[in-house]
């Protein structure tokens, strides 16, 4: 199952490392696919645009009105889809590598639940959309993460304790959300469910810009920190023996992961399943032992953009419905393939 690696060394500049051709190919392929879906996404809408005209508008040629439609109306949503998928995919990969558990995902450990209770609470109080919802979602996610970390901290944290405490917090938040849903008026409940499932409708630049800025900071930071992941995978003792500052590394990596999830959730709600499935899909496609950061991110982007396209063209439902409905069978298929080959997932 493990793909080949190529080791290289340059004389000048003194750069050397390990290349994994299959992983690179997967990243490039998925990145390209994401871009294609990104452009296709912008062709959908009341004002008909072909792919050619979208591309022309992107490079600031072509009809002026086309450019307005693309830049003002279509791009925020498409870009949000791309970035949200990217953020969730990368965040899921981080969580799963740090906790050494393929089932760990921000949805499981309570961060999405924190955002959910904040947003649904907001809806019941009258803050239904836009910047208000976004801020609440961000605040809820961050607060949940802080609470989980603090509660799990006892002379340091372990992946195991974080998961368990996260489940407890998730349970409380989910119950509170159910309570609010039952108390709300029906139209508020509808609005809430629409957000809870993961939704890119009504996304404008005021949602997408903060997301873009946040990722512009978080992604490079994460990539720099990712070196620590290589040793953390081997267990705390071995990692410490190899000179990794285990507690600090785990804290910073979790911070990055939470940041990615929080901003993604703030923009589009807790889009079902992406953070859980994308890293596992990427890992199997690339043939590597642990969920690869960039490939997971690209997989997440492809999943969200593809699901959104399908959601709008075929079903008329929010993106989160499709990611769950399609993502789950795909994961199951991958599992079945692995089972037959004997590695059992």
């Amino acid at each position: 199952m493990t793909a080949a690696a190529v080791r290289f060394r340059l004389a000048a500049p003194p750069v050397s490392g390990v290349l994994r051709p299959r992983l690179l190919a997967v990243c490039l392929g998925l990145g390209l696919l994401a871009f294609v879906l990104f452009c296709l996404g912008m062709t959908v809408g009341d004002y008909p645009l072909s792919v050619g005209r979208v591309l022309a508008a992107l490079v600031s040629r072509g009809d002026y009105y086309d450019q307005v439609v693309v830049y003002d109306w279509r791009m925020p949503r498409a870009l949000a889809g791309l970035l949200v998928g990217f953020a969730f995919g990368m965040s899921g990969a981080l969580f799963q590598t740090i906790t050494r558990n393929p089932l760990a995902a921000p949805d499981v450990i309570g961060i999405s639940a924190g955002a959910a209770v904040a947003v649904v609470g907001g809806i019941v109080l009258g803050i239904g959309s836009g910047v208000g919802t976004q801020t609440l979602g961000l605040a809820g996610a961050v607060l949940a993460a802080v609470v989980i970390y603090v509660l799990a901290w006892r002379r340091g944290t372990t992946g195991y304790r974080i998961i368990l405490v996260g489940i407890g917090v998730s349970w409380m938040c989910t119950s509170a959300t159910a309570y609010l849903l039952a108390r709300a008026k029906l139209h508020e409940a509808q609005q809430a469910v629409g957000w809870l499932v993961g939704n890119l409708n009504d996304v404008t630049w005021s949602q997408t810009t903060p997301l873009l800025l946040a990722l512009a900071v978080l992604v490079p930071v994460t990539l720099v920190l990712s070196g620590w992941l290589r040793t953390l995978q081997l267990g705390d003792d071995v990692a410490a023996g190899l000179g990794t500052p285990v507690q600090r590394a785990r804290f910073l990596l979790l911070l990055a992961a939470v940041g990615l999830v929080a901003f993604g959730t703030a923009a589009a709600g807790p889009v079902a399943f992406v953070a859980l499935a994308a890293p596992q899909i990427a890992r199997r496609l690339a043939g590597v032992p642990a969920p690869p950061l960039v490939a997971s991110a690209c997989t997440g982007a492809v999943v969200v953009l593809g699901a959104d396209l399908l959601a709008r063209l075929v079903v008329g439902l929010p993106v989160g419905v499709i990611t769950g409905v399609l993502g789950a069978p795909f994961l199951l298929w991958l599992l079945a393939r692995a089972n037959r080959a004997g590695s059992g997932g």
Binding site: M1, T2, A4, A5, R7, F8, R9, P13, P14, V15, S16, G17, V18, R100, V224, G227, R230, T231, Q233, L234, G235, D237, V238, A240, G241, L242, G243, T244, P245, G287, V288, P289, A290, S343
Partner: protein, 269 residues
């Protein structure tokens, strides 16, 4: 280049359970030291404390006179290498990848495969007889091969001091001797200080320059094998009656246990 590793007044505990109340130790530089003792006497705890994995409640672990917890952990990783008990590798990680991870304290993110790295990894693989298995996933190897892969990782780290926690577990006798002979090579040829926890007392006698016998978190005796391994000490530390004779091959003490079914009287029957 030898590095001095010493423990001063160490008090080690897990939660409320004190395992080592007050221990001081100077690890003889450039020698092979073996820590022996019954189960749960604190051997692994001491090793973990020496490796800075466990912060002492009081006392210090000093590397060349400086506290191991005050130094940047990467710097310590270039001096001290550790092979813990029962490590677990992620599914699908190859032997070559695992051994390469041992080079992390020497690497920067733009230099992940320098010629020093390549040389260290290749010689580690050769020394542990794993060159043919380099591309196999670690979790597909047998228990013995896996243990050798982890050992290769610790060797590739190229530290002047190497701490090994029961490195011969899961190995058959031939491979146990291979590993221990390899440890002697590392000590003689590369002048590395070795501290090992071993279960087998006779192997400890054969391969150790310095034996440290522990009981209930304290050092009961330390010194050369002949000084330490006497029937009285074995009785004290292991609660085992024995005779000690001389190993005809290596000239070191050989412990012959006396159990209930074997004694000098019953043999005469």
């Amino acid at each position: 280049m030898t590095v001095e590793l010493r423990a001063a007044g160490l008090r080690l505990a897990y939660g409320d359970r004190v395992v080592v109340p007050d221990l001081s130790l100077l690890v003889p530089p450039g020698r092979i030291s073996v820590i022996v003792g019954a189960n749960a006497c604190g051997k692994s705890t001491l090793l973990r404390a020496l490796a800075r994995l466990l912060a002492p409640r009081s006392g210090q672990v000093l590397l060349d006179g400086r506290s191991v917890h005050a130094l940047p952990t990467r710097a310590v990783a270039r001096e001290l290498g550790l092979l813990p008990q029962a490590p677990v590798a992620p599914d699908g990680l190859t032997v070559l990848d695992l051994v390469t991870r041992g080079r992390s304290p020497h690497q920067s993110w733009w230099r992940q495969w320098s010629s020093a790295d390549e040389q260290a990894v290749t010689s580690a693989l050769r020394a542990t007889d794993l060159a043919d298995l380099a591309d196999r996933p670690v979790d597909e190897l047998s228990g013995g091969q896996r243990q050798r892969a982890w050992l290769a990782m610790a060797i590739a780290q190229q530290t002047p001091v190497l701490l090994l926690d029961e490195p011969t577990t899961f190995l058959d006798l031939a491979h146990q001797i291979d590993v221990l002979d390899l440890v002697v090579d590392l000590n003689r040829d590369e002048d590395r200080t070795i501290v090992m926890v071993l279960h087998d007392l006779n192997q400890a006698c054969r391969y150790a320059d310095h034996v440290i016998a522990m009981k209930s978190g304290e050092i009961v005796a330390q010194g050369g094998p002949a000084e330490v391994v006497t029937p009285a000490t074995v009785e004290d530390v292991f609660d085992l009656t024995c005779q000690v004779t001389t190993d005809p091959v290596s000239g070191t003490p050989l412990v012959i246990p006396i159990g209930r079914h074997h004694s000098t009287e019953s043999v005469a029957r």
